[in-house]
């Protein structure tokens, strides 16, 4: 066992350097081959949705878990991406693929603006500012009927001519891998160091030479850009958009996934999505009871395991390392080391 892990460690060594976790690389590898075994259209669709939420949760965590600002309007930026991709196809005649890119860029720009808006705000005020911007966006989407068709809904052309789920599956898988790698690389780079520094103590970060504003804006821009991209995918996958896509309800859903996954980990959100979305689907028959269970589960997790799945994984791995089953390879361990007590 130990030797296997060590040799795997060698293979993944360069990846780990970039902050890409071997277990996630394995997961992606497995996901690549899923359609070979699962030919069931519904399961594929469920996986598509799960991956989509996983991607969103990762992008959300990139802000919440690193610079410690909860973008409580996150769904609206995803929705904005959906609408801008859809409308760019309908009104500008772009191909849906270009639409996705257009959406990513546009929402990235809006994220830039949001970053500028929230510069001076901290904590709950920044979260509320993002939320208010989102609510305003949603109201605009509902009211600008000439452009968006408002609450009647906007029909959006699909990405593929075929109606099978497979192409969508590989598209979203590619997007999610891209998102993960991008976020993992950034967050393990110098920029990531700056993100975490300003997330934990802005003043100390500034006095160490970190220009908080710049990194806050970079973070918002990237996170929103990815939300826009995923939103664009949503648009062309589902085929119809209503302002409800921008609803706070969806932000809560993404937030729960990312928190259950574990804050500040990037990968936690993806794993949580792959578990939670199917689980919720499985329980659909319970109607309200399902949502009550969902609420209760949320409460129990927050009370008893606030570090989420990632925390569970880490403590599990720590336990194994202590038992000597796994080699202690990490240079930067998150475990609580024994501190020396004195000079």
């Amino acid at each position: 066992m130990k030797r296997l892990v060590t040799s795997l460690g060698k293979v993944f060594g360069p990846l780990t350097k970039l902050g890409i976790r071997p277990q996630i690389a394995v997961l992606f590898f497995a996901l690549l081959f899923v359609p070979l075994f699962v030919r069931d259209e519904f399961t594929l669709r469920l996986l598509i949705t799960s991956l989509m939420f996983g991607g969103l949760a990762m992008a959300f965590d990139f802000t919440a878990g690193f610079i410690n600002i909860v973008n409580f309007g996150f769904a609206a930026f995803m929705g904005l991406g959906a609408y801008s991709s859809g409308l760019s196809v309908l009104k500008l005649g772009l191909s849906p693929w270009l639409g996705l890119i257009f959406a990513a860029l546009l929402v990235g720009i809006v994220g830039f603006g949001l970053g500028v808006l929230t510069i001076r705000l901290g904590g709950i005020f920044a979260a509320c500012m993002a939320w208010f911007v989102a609510l305003a966006l949603m109201a605009v989407t509902a009211n600008w009927v000439d452009l968006t068709k408002g609450n009647s809904g906007l029909s959006v052309p699909p990405l593929f001519v075929t109606i099978r789920n497979m192409p969508y599956y590989y598209t979203i898988l590619a997007i999610v891998i891209l998102v993960y790698i991008l976020l993992a690389v950034i967050s393990s780079s110098k920029i990531g160091l700056a993100f975490r520094a300003i997330g934990q103590d802005v003043v100390a970060a500034a006095s160490s030479g970190v220009f908080a504003t710049k990194y806050k804006i970079i973070n918002f821009t990237i996170s929103c850009c990815l939300a826009g991209l995923l939103g664009g995918f949503y648009a062309h996958f589902v085929g119809v958009l209503t302002p409800q896509v921008l609803h706070t309800r969806n932000t809560v859903e993404i937030m729960v996934i990312s928190y259950v996954g574990g804050r500040g980990t990037i990968w936690g959100g993806l794993v949580a999505a792959l578990l939670l979305v199917p689980a919720m689907d499985y329980l659909k028959g319970l109607l309200e009871l399902r949502l009550i269970m969902y609420g209760a589960a949320m409460i129990l997790i927050m009370i008893f395991y606030p570090r989420g799945l990632a925390g569970l994984w880490t403590s599990g791995a720590d336990y194994l390392k202590r038992k000597g089953v796994l080699p202690d390879t990490s240079t930067v361990s998150v475990s609580k080391g024994k501190t020396g007590q004195n000079l």
Partner: protein
């Protein structure tokens, strides 16, 4: 009056206090000395129910008080002036003092206590209506001590009352302690200012890495070589 037996305290996995036992008699001034991070604050907080003990017992006036919630200890006559002062910054000096007497229901007793602390610290009487958050460091410390006296405690525990104060204010604080002592209040004091502390204390304990390593009267300790080297800086 207060007795601690074989106390262990940990933060998570990290044990900080190891089998500490000590005893404080009525009317004494006892100092607890120790290097930074020796666990002095931890010890006091555990006595006050702000932290939980994993092992051992604490008795106060013959009754066991181990791990009782803080507010019950206040009712029994303990009082704690913490390192961080813990004042209510958006309330006036007067309101802070009134809250000090939260456990006292008798209006007259409250008024007497107010009068007493105002004679101790005339400065507070002048600043009765100033918000605590706007007071200077020295004034805050006075307020914290005064507030700790408001419910007429039988034992007052002070954690580094002179920390961060200018020499003049330090002087004032120690003067107050001397005066309290003559007022029959038992006092436990934790200080870095070893020199001065040993001058006013009857007895002292030395805590090191969470263990009691020395104890004795002030005079004994002052002449102890180890103490002289470690704390008095005399080599």
């Amino acid at each position: 009056m207060l007795e601690i037996r074989q106390l262990d305290v940990s933060y998570g996995y990290l044990q900080v206090i190891w089998g500490v036992s000590l005893k404080i008699n009525e009317g004494e001034v006892v100092a607890i000395l120790g290097t930074n991070g020796a666990g002095k604050t931890t010890l006091l907080k555990t006595v006050m129910g702000l932290l939980t003990a994993s092992q051992g017992t604490i008795t106060f006036l013959g009754e066991e008080i181990t791990n009782l919630p803080t507010f019950k200890l206040i009712k029994r006559g303990l009082s704690f002036v913490s390192e961080e002062r813990n004042l209510f910054p958006a309330m006036t000096v007067f309101e802070n003092l009134i809250l000090g007497a939260y456990t006292v229901r008798d209006k007259k007793k409250i008024n007497d206590a107010l009068e007493y602390v105002f004679t101790l610290f005339p400065r507070l009487a002048e600043r009765k209506n100033q918000l605590a958050g706007t007071m200077s460091g020295g004034e805050r410390q006075m307020l914290a001590i005064a507030r700790g006296l408001m419910h007429g405690p039988r034992m007052l525990i002070l954690d580094e009352p002179s920390m961060g104060l200018s020499p003049m204010n330090v002087e004032a604080v120690f003067e107050t302690i001397t005066r309290l002592r003559s007022g029959q209040t038992t006092i436990v004091i934790v200080e870095q200012n070893v020199n001065t502390t040993l001058r006013i204390a009857d007895r002292a304990y030395v805590l090191e890495q969470g263990r009691i390593v020395l104890e004795g009267t002030s005079a004994e300790l002052r002449s102890n070589d180890q103490v002289r080297e470690m704390y008095l800086g005399i080599c």
